[in-house]
């Protein structure tokens, strides 16, 4: 719920900076390793929108694939968790390149 409220505050701030009155559509990017339950976020977002500039706004959540680069052998690969081993050399020294992001990507406003 605090994440949904953060999104609304972010929309309110953007409304002042970018001069819009209402938000009709919100596109979020939430990576699979972002520690957030997407269905819960949808539910909370709807609740948080009530009585705000984003009332009844549509919500789309884009989930990019999680990818990491091995710091041992340099190979880039998809990953499914924070403790995957490198599929090429077996090292656990994988640096996440994408997949833990949680950001507001785009808005449709009026």
């Amino acid at each position: 719920m605090s994440i949904a409220n953060s999104i609304i505050r972010l929309l309110q701030q953007q409304a002042q900076e970018q001069h819009f009155k209402r938000v009709k559509h919100v596109w979020l990017q939430v990576g699979p390793l972002a520690m957030v339950e997407v269905e819960s976020l949808r539910f909370c977002f709807t609740a948080a929108c009530r009585g705000t500039l984003a009332e009844e706004a549509a919500l789309d959540i884009i989930s990019p694939e999680a990818r990491a680069r091995c710091q041992q052998c340099g190979e880039e690969q998809p990953v499914t968790s924070r403790f995957d081993a490198c599929v090429h050399c077996g090292s656990y020294r994988l640096q996440l390149l994408q997949g833990d992001e949680m950001r507001v990507h785009e808005l449709e406003v009026e």
């Binding site: 949904a4 972002a34 808005l107």
Partner: protein, 272 residues
């Protein structure tokens, strides 16, 4: 950060005896009749608001040469006992304060005060973690801690505190041997974002099925650089290593501040 699941709410946050400010007032706007729809690229991190407060806290800590440590763990790992044992060993040597985060009660803050340190309780109400904004407010209530130590005891929770930077210099995760040795795998994010793993209650190792080596191996799969100290806050075993770790980091923090001030003095002298 699974606040969507556990029902985090900022409304009930209380810092010390004062009510937490509400920063989530909704704006009621009249319906706009014109039909000038447009797309706006935002690309903004949802936690950027917290990140902004964390940056401000970090600057404040640096200016005060204050070492701030964010202590995270599940409930019952012995965070408060560890802190009281730490305070006993450090009190009188350096300015020291503790910010206690709990959903309810000021019992932990009272335990810290009884051990001889300044303590400020933050009650998060329904909230499951401390955030950088609460810490900023707490700092306004604390005395001058220049060159000293600030321990932030986060709400007992291995999930949500992982996502919220408080502006600390280091995050310390505490795991006790009465928990499962596979906890790093179950709650990877908190271990990924921590610099030090304290394995507490090692005096109980003979009585529990806890594989110390497996636990450390799991933690290092998630975070190959994590440091590990084994200790028992109750018997004092290993406490010296932990206190040394803290003191070393505090010395480094002081040294960094001195270097920054010296560099600034040189810059100013060149303008004379």
């Amino acid at each position: 950060m699974m606040c969507g699941v556990c029902g985090c709410g900022k409304d009930e946050v209380q810092v010390g005896s004062t009510n937490g400010h509400r920063h989530d007032e909704h704006q009621h706007k009249p319906h706009q009749t014109d039909d000038t729809r447009r797309l706006v690229q935002i690309e903004q991190d949802i936690l950027s608001e917290n990140a902004g407060y964390a940056v401000a806290n970090r600057e404040l800590f640096e200016q005060q040469a204050l070492l701030a440590l964010n202590l995270v763990s599940s409930p019952g790992s012995g965070k408060t006992s560890l802190l009281t044992a730490t305070i006993t060993r450090l009190s009188g040597q350096v300015p020291l304060a503790v910010i206690e985060g709990d959903q309810q009660t000021s019992r932990d803050a009272e335990r810290i005060r009884a051990a001889g340190a300044t303590a400020l309780q933050i009650n998060t109400g329904k909230g499951c973690h401390l955030d950088a904004h609460m810490i900023g407010h707490a700092m306004q209530q604390l005395p001058n801690l220049q060159g000293g130590l600030l321990f932030i005891e986060n709400v007992g929770n291995l999930v949500c505190p992982a996502g919220f930077d408080l502006g600390e210099a280091h995050r310390v995760v505490i795991l006790s041997v009465t928990e499962g040795d596979d906890k790093p795998l179950k709650y990877p994010d908190i271990f990924h974002h921590s610099d030090l793993l304290l394995i507490n209650k090692i005096d109980l190792l003979p009585y529990v099925e806890f594989d110390l080596n497996a636990c450390i191996d799991y933690a290092r799969r998630i975070n190959p650089d994590i440091e590990v100290i084994q200790l028992s806050a109750r018997t004092g075993e290993g406490m010296e290593s932990w206190v040394d770790w803290v003191n070393q980091r505090r010395q480094q923090r002081l040294q960094q501040r001195i270097s920054a001030l010296q560099a600034e003095a040189i810059r100013l002298e060149s303008l004379l």
